[in-house]
Amino acid sequence: MTGRSPGTADVSLETRGLTMVYRSGAVEVRALSDVDLQLKRSELVVLLGPSGSGKSTLLNILGGLDAPTSGQVFFDGREITAFSDRELTRYRRDHVGFVFQFYNLIPSLTAEENVALVTEIARNAMPPRDALDLVGLTARADHFPAELSGGEQQRVAIARAIAKRPEILLCDEPTGALDSTTGVLVLEAIDRINRELGTTTALITHNVGIADMADRVISLADGRIAEMRVNERKRRPAELSW
């Protein structure tokens, strides 16, 4: 199964006039300025940009972790920027999967239990073992995070994120703390999920090399979309190097 090509699919996430201003003391930091964006179903988008360009802020708002200063975000036509705290929790619980740079596994739970943590509360979850199988870690299911390598921990985090079959997978620098060989394994897992489950995936990186695995690449600079391009030829993660 391959993801539907961009442009023909329905819109999964959409932002209109998204602006985010942080105020720290007397200084006003404009993290996002009037961002209009559409993520289509099953699309794999890479968000590129230097630090401070606003990509993490954008991802946090898309995931319902943060609220914009102005502008709107729509998921499946519903405006999540108008959601209450309870509805946002529900949104994250049922529709969004997160992968972080520092894995954020619960140290007191094994790999399988970390995944089960999510499957226990989600509506339409797959068995935790199946999720671990998707990232190639069935054999390490009974290990605690402290007993896993960085790459393995990140793959458990991916399994945890996708076990509930989310419509959206948001990955914030998932390879940031890994060497490139391990990073490739992690990207392969993300790519496979995107292809096999059709999950809309947004992946933040400041690493240009990784952009080649995307359907579409969006570059951010100073809180604005600087460039948006469709990849003519998607490359497999194994072909990437950085």
């Binding site: 929790t89 954020n104 239990e113 605690f144 007993e147």
Partner: protein
């Protein structure tokens, strides 16, 4: 200005402000310990210095002796006993008073005063008025507590029956005496100022009233410095034996002083046990907070070392934090402790009467409390501070390895949800810390139960003494032995349902080299109004053959059933005989011994007289009975059980209420301090995990369950263990009250367990609510962006 405070100290101040919740929680625990220590040590020091000054200034005697009657010239022979400084012979008698407005009869102890001069020993502290003058036989000085209880003033009059003769006495002075700091009627436990009076009359007037012209029946002595009291007492007893001496006692055994010293000992015990608990918990909490602070500041520590700060400087920096928290606690404790000490000392002065009160705790209790608390805080900080000092700079700059969990020895049951797994694994990963939290909460429950237990124990004590043993309503003692006919007279008095004679004989028990001065109570066979009551087996029939001993007396004499006990009667014909112990009875009050009344009379070779009669009274006829009893000239003392119980409950009720209040605060501080710190540390250590879970779609309630579930589980365990801790603390306290006068039964009613648990749980819930508020306001993104 900027350089006035060093950068590290500036960091210290900011750390203190940042951690203020935890700082205050620990400081409150330290303050509780310090306050308790200062209250008990301060009250102890104040009462002791007050008593010493009082005894010294008013020449409180060193030795006291009672006898039947001795001619005045014997005083000179007493004075020749080596080691004696001063001799004061007196007349001390009992009488009943008729005070207007008081239905129940009032018993008075009347003590003679030399006319026109001050007594050489046991001088009076006049509160108002003057002493008695010669040629005015109806003048009296009365004790201040009695005067206050009835609003009697100088110039007032009331009637007294002195050896059968009604006299109207005029109050010329109101005073206190070092002999009656704790003034109780014979046989009672607690001062009852409404129904017991101490009066002082002129020696000549009293001698005339009691046919003791040129004679005395009581003597007190002061000793030269270095004199051996037991040697003086032995010689004095020999000298007074022909005159009906019942054995002299030294100051330590004088009843008022005995109660006072006993109370001081208990204060001392309290000053050791309770503050130790609080300060140990404070040490643990300091360790908890400091360890966490140091692990979050690893990179700062590395940085400081990279800048060239020495190990010692780092160690001192963190030790200062512990000392600052502790100092705050000490200051709070000093303030609370000196207030409580003053209040407590004043409270004591309602029971122990002094003409002046030195609230002089001195600096010692403050210094001791401060030193002990600082030592506890530093002890608690030691391990954490050492870790900070020895952290290699490079390692300190690296983030710590993720906390290692492994499948532990204790398997987590399958089928549990993962949130519960997180809770259980976290508890099991730090078993010592978890155990300390449990212990802290357990002590909070225990301390509260300890305060509540008094009420249970005293209720049982009252029930045992006033319900199980003494089943009469009124006990009347005659001034002199009466014939058996008096029993029928008593039965015919209005309201009396039954009357039963009782005989108390002053004796010295001996077994081998052990001896005890006490009383044998002679009960008629089949006695119903006063019985031998064993705490375990209930009523024991009066044996025909030998002696029933209270187990405490048997223990003192080292005898058991079947063993003979030598009895030396200290009155009448002063017979000596040996009787076997038939059985033992467990009693809470005093060290009684019982025999069949007839057999006792035969052994003592006394006539068939009656000295005391117990009455069962119809409550409706009580007033008529009181009126009839007041008219009788032959009564020395009338004890109304109901009034004694009321007084006991009133006095103890107030003390218990006050102390339960204090202890509720202290236990609350303990429970709050432990729970708040445990939950806050949990939040600090796992803020990242909790934020992750929120991002994964967990609700606030669900992550609160993980954070507070752990605390709740530990608190629950603490509450359960607390019941055992409370029992154990009560057992330790109760055993420290095991005196010859009374034992406190170890009784904890279910309500005491319940209230102890609820009290500690409330404080825990309050602190959990505070932490929950922090969880709610947690900034998800900020937490996730920080790398541990």
């Amino acid at each position: 200005m900027v350089t006035a405070v060093r950068a590290l100290d500036r960091k210290l101040l900011r750390d203190l402000r940042r951690l203020r919740g935890q700082v205050v929680a620990i400081a409150l625990v330290v303050a509780s310990g310090v306050a308790l220590m200062i209250m008990s040590l301060g009250t102890h020091a104040s009462l002791r210095s007050t008593a010493e000054a009082y005894y010294d200034r008013y020449h409180f005697a060193d030795v006291f002796a009672r006898l039947t009657r001795a001619p005045d010239r014997i005083a000179e022979r007493i004075a020749q006993i080596p080691g004696i400084q001063r001799v004061e012979t007196r007349i001390v008698r009992y009488a009943s008073l008729d005070v207007p407005g008081v239905a129940a009869p009032v018993t008075a102890q009347i003590v003679s005063l030399p006319e026109d001069t001050a007594p050489a020993l046991n001088a009076l502290a006049f509160r108002t008025g003057r002493s008695v003058q010669s040629g005015r036989p109806n003048e009296v000085v009365i004790g201040e507590p009695f005067a206050l209880a009835h609003g009697i003033r100088v110039g007032d009059r009331f009637d007294a029956i002195l050896k059968g003769t009604r006299r109207t006495l005029t109050v010329v002075g109101i005073a206190l005496s070092p002999e009656f700091v704790y003034a109780i009627a014979p046989g009672s436990l607690m001062p009852d100022d409404r129904h017991f009076a101490v009066l002082w009359m002129g020696r000549k007037a009293l001698a005339a009233a009691f046919d003791l012209d040129g004679a005395f029946d009581n003597v007190s002595l002061s000793l030269l410095r270095g004199a051996d009291p037991s040697d003086v007492i032995a010689r004095l007893d020999d000298l007074l034996a022909p005159y009906g001496g019942t054995g002299a006692v030294e100051r330590a055994d004088q009843i008022s002083n005995w109660f006072l010293m006993n109370e001081l000992d208990q204060l001392r015990t309290m000053s050791r046990i309770l503050p130790t608990i609080f300060l140990a918990v404070a040490a643990f909490l300091t360790n908890l907070v400091l360890s966490r602070l140091i692990s979050t500041e690893r990179s700062e520590i590395g940085l400081m070392k990279a800048f060239g700060y020495s190990k010692a400087e780092i160690a001192i920096h963190y030790a200062k934090l512990a000392l600052a928290i502790c100092t705050l606690g000490i200051l709070l404790g000093w303030i609370a402790g000196s207030f409580l000490g003053r209040y407590n000392t004043a409270l004591y002065n309602e029971t122990f009467r002094f003409p002046f009160l030195y609230y002089r705790p001195g600096i010692a209790p403050f210094a001791i409390a401060a030193v002990v608390s600082l030592a506890a805080a530093l002890g608690g900080a030691l391990d954490a501070v050492r870790r900070a000092a020895t952290l290699p700079p490079a390692e300190a700059m690296r983030p710590p390895a993720p906390p290692a969990y492994r499948h532990g020895a204790i398997p987590i049951p399958k089928g549990l949800d993962n949130s519960t797994r997180i809770v259980l694994r976290h508890i099991l990963r730090a078993p010592v810390r978890s155990a300390m939290t449990v212990t802290g909460v357990a002590f909070a429950v225990g301390v509260l139960m300890l305060a509540l237990q008094w009420s249970d124990a005293l209720d049982r004590l009252v029930e045992s003494e006033f319900h199980d043993t003494r089943r009469y309503d009124i006990s009347v003692a005659f001034a002199e032995d009466r014939s058996r006919r008096v029993l029928h007279e008593m039965e015919r008095l209005p309201g009396v349902l039954a009357a039963e004679p009782v005989r108390n004989v002053a004796v010295r028990f001996r077994s081998g080299h052990r001896s005890h001065r006490g009383t044998v109570t002679g009960l008629p066979a089949g006695a119903r109004l006063e019985v031998i009551y064993d705490a375990v087996e209930g009523v024991i029939p009066v044996p025909e053959g030998g002696l029933v001993l209270s187990s405490r007396l048997a223990e003192k004499l080292q005898v058991g059933p079947g063993d003979p006990v030598e009895i030396e009667v200290l009155e009448g014909r002063r017979m000596k005989f040996s009787v076997p112990v038939v059985r033992l009875a467990e009693e809470y009050i005093g060290m009684p011994a019982w025999m069949d009344a007839d057999r006792l009379r035969r052994l003592t070779r006394e006539a068939d007289g009656i000295a005391r009669v117990n009455l069962l009274v119809d409550e409706a006829g009580e007033d008529a009975l009181f009126a009839a009893l007041k008219k009788r000239p032959d009564l020395a003392a009338i004890a109304v059980k109901r009034l004694a119980v009321e007084k006991f409950n009133e006095t103890m009720g107030k003390i218990i209420l006050v102390f339960t209040g204090f202890f509720l605060l202290f236990a609350g501080a303990l429970s709050f301090g432990v729970t708040y710190n445990a939950a806050r540390i949990g939040l600090s250590e796992r803020g990242r995990d909790l934020a992750t879970l929120r991002v994964l779609g967990f609700t606030r309630a669900e992550i609160s369950y993980i954070l507070l579930g752990e605390t709740a589980l530990l608190v629950l365990a603490g509450l359960a263990f607390g019941c055992g801790t409370g029992w154990a603390l009560a057992a330790v306290m109760v055993s420290s009250f095991d005196t010859e006068l009374f034992r406190v039964p170890l009784i904890l009613l279910p309500s005491t367990y319940g209230l102890g648990v609820v009290g500690a749980a409330c404080a825990a819930v309050m602190s959990a609510a505070l932490v929950r508020r922090r969880v709610d306001s947690m900034d998800l993104i900020a937490v996730l962006k920080t790398r541990e």
